[in-house]
């Protein structure tokens, strides 16, 4: 007996047990935190000056780093998608490294580039430019960890799309720059959106690299995750409320991305 609507070869029944456990494992903490929230004080908790400053800083820096990811990541993704040579083979794992690197390590590494005594920071400092422990450092840390998300999503989309349309556009007399703006990028719009959303979500949750490289200065580098970590000691209820806020933002992002994928893009366009 197989359930109606599931023809073909079924899965062994025991598979459903770990699958159910996995679902509970992910859902239970979310439920627990939602139960823990003091909903009557929720509004005032998330609108305290410190919370508002952290939320605004998070949104601003995540937006800035997403833009930076797009500007740098889109060309990189296309280069990786279109080239099969040794360069792409070396480049790809290098670019994806931040994906698996502990963020704290990333933060330390960034310090050794942009810190006062770092590789570039040395010269920047001489020119009067300081990056470490500023809002710029927050943006750089977020970009460092979220760039691979955008590149992966977009490279896959670009590979699937292939270059046939670009080829046809060239035979119609369009020079490469015209093809890039009018054919390549518009056709990658779905991948671009999902890549940007992933990058934004990752930037929003960035903690380790930010703390190491940018510190925790209220209004300057203390983003929402840092604020939550800090409040956990002094005002656990505020930490919980802010956590729920972050979960809500993440949920909006994930659901939005999912809906976008399901709806496709041909009908809308």
């Amino acid at each position: 007996m197989r359930p109606i609507g599931a023809p073909g070869v079924g899965l062994p029944r025991w598979v459903y047990l770990p699958a159910a456990l996995a679902t509970v494992f992910v859902a239970l903490p979310l439920v627990a935190i939602a139960i823990k929230v003091d909903w009557s004080r929720f509004g005032s908790l998330i609108t305290s000056p410190a919370s508002r400053a952290a939320l605004l800083l998070s949104l601003r820096t995540a937006t800035a780093s997403t833009l930076l990811c797009l500007i740098l990541g889109v060309p990189l993704a296309l280069v990786l998608a279109r080239h099969r040579g040794a360069l792409a083979r070396v480049l790809r794992p290098l670019i994806l490294l931040p994906l698996v690197l502990p963020p704290v390590v990333g933060g330390i590494a960034l310090l050794y580039v942009y810190g006062r005594l770092g590789l570039l920071g040395h010269y920047l400092d001489a020119a009067g430019i300081r990056i470490a422990f500023t809002t710029t450092a927050v943006v750089l840390a977020q970009t460092f960890v979220s760039l691979p998300f955008l590149v992966i999503a977009l490279e896959g989309a670009a590979r699937t799309a292939g270059s046939d349309y670009d080829m046809v556009a060239a035979t119609l007399g369009a020079p490469p720059a015209t093809v890039w703006w009018r054919i390549t990028l518009p056709l990658l719009a779905p991948g671009l959106v999902s890549g940007a959303v992933l990058a934004f979500a990752r930037a929003l949750g960035e903690f380790g690299a930010t703390l190491t490289f940018a510190g925790s200065r209220e209004g300057v580098t203390r983003t929402l995750p840092l604020e939550i970590y800090l409040q956990r000691e002094g005002d656990p209820e505020a930490a919980v409320a802010l956590s729920v806020l972050l979960i809500a933002v993440a949920a909006v992002v994930v659901v939005g991305l999912g809906a976008r994928r399901i709806a496709g893009w041909n009908a809308g366009g």
Binding site: D164, Y165, M167, V168, A169, A170, T171, L172, G173, A174, P175, P176, V179, R182, I183, P186, L187, A189, N266, G269
Partner: protein, 366 residues
């Protein structure tokens, strides 16, 4: 407009071809899969780096590997029409054609030219649709309009009708023919379909194993193929003439001989007075000693020049047609040959049913 001259060697694909297409000429390229037809197109369009190649269009040298010349694809003015129309999915139909027209024109001129080309292919009413909303035949006609709107010096068609069903291909073929013969542009047409060759091409080139196996006027190559592939696709009877009324062709008269009338099924939209070819298989021909009466509408008295055994059938070859075209052929069983006592030099009647004769635009240009 200008001639296209190509010589290309691509060692990795075993390609070594030389070809020439005069301005205003359509050269059909036939050949088995993997013969190098599409590779040739890619080299001409500048999409593939050849080991050694020269591509010239008139005075312009587009590729010359000896002198390090390789004009980028977008500056070649070589249009490409593929089996997949590849209309840009994010642009409307008119947007697609305008994209090509923008090259030499400002926005309003480009829109005008795009509309003119859409009208040319009978797709002006589709202008605001998205490519996803078009049928295969419509999409291919729009792709043709788009390719032409870029005003290429040369048009390369790589099996443009192969992706369409029979009805859509039949509806698209006359449009392609009208556009290809409209001005003095050189065109190269890769196809697997003999009807495309007969209706669209002036000359035919047969490629085998990356080499040119033979090249010549359509009627000549089809009548007396020298290559294996040519022989396989040929072997049909071809009568050239003029359409005198719907479904009726008058064969080219010979010296002192009237043109015979042939009744058939028009495969394209044909108008009286037009050059037309009647095409039918030797297997559709029946042979009689006396003039038959009744249903078969077409019967001609011919003199047998030879009989060849061809597997289970005997092919009867007739003398040249009055206009000098190759003689008709009939495939009959050995029993029938024995029963009728057929021999070379004798006169017999060849008859063909109307339904077995296809009438196509174009006379295969001797």
């Amino acid at each position: 407009m200008a001639d296209l001259e190509v010589s290309a060697t691509v060692a990795s694909r075993g390609l070594d071809v030389q070809l020439r297409v005069a301005a205003g000429e359509v050269l059909a390229v036939l050949g088995p899969n993997g013969a190098g037809k599409s590779t040739t197109v890619a080299v001409i369009a500048g999409l593939l780096q050849a080991d050694a190649a020269v591509v010239r269009v008139g005075e312009r040298t587009l590729t010359d590997t000896d002198h390090g010349v390789c004009v980028p694809t977008h500056d070649r003015r070589i249009g490409v029409l593929l089996q997949d129309p590849l209309l840009f999915p994010h642009l409307s139909v008119i947007g697609n054609v305008e994209f090509a027209a923008r090259r030499h024109a400002d926005r309003s001129a480009a829109r005008q030219r795009a509309q003119r080309w859409l009208a040319e292919v009978g797709a002006q009413n589709l202008a605001d649709r998205k490519p996803a909303e078009l049928s295969g035949g419509q999409a291919q006609r729009v792709a043709l309009a788009r390719a032409m709107a870029a005003e290429p010096d040369v048009l390369l068609c790589d099996e443009p009708l192969a992706g369409l069903d029979v009805a859509a291909a039949a509806a698209t073929r006359p449009v392609l023919r009208r556009v290809l013969t409209a001005d003095s542009r050189a065109a190269l047409l890769i196809t697997h379909d003999l009807i495309d060759v007969l209706t669209l091409a002036d000359r035919v080139l047969i490629m085998e194993d990356g080499k040119v196996a033979e090249v010549g006027p359509v009627a000549q190559v089809l009548a007396a193929p020298r290559s294996a592939f040519g022989a396989r696709i040929a072997g049909v009877n071809l009568v050239r003439g003029v359409l005198v009324e719907p479904g009726v062709l008058r064969a080219e008269p010979g010296p002192g001989l009237p043109g015979v009338l042939w009744h058939g099924n028009p495969a394209d939209h044909l108008t009286p007075g037009q050059d037309v070819s009647a095409v039918f298989s030797p297997a559709a021909v029946a042979v009689f000693r006396d003039q038959p009466h009744g249903s078969p509408r077409n019967s001609v008295l011919i003199r047998i020049t030879g009989l060849e055994v061809n597997g289970a059938v005997v092919r009867i070859r007739a003398e040249e047609q009055p206009d000098g075209a190759p003689g008709l052929a009939a495939d009959v069983t050995p029993d029938a040959v024995a029963e009728l006592g057929l021999r070379a030099g004798e006169q017999v009647w060849f008859t063909v049913k109307t339904q077995a004769v296809g009438l196509h635009a174009g006379s295969g240009h001797a």
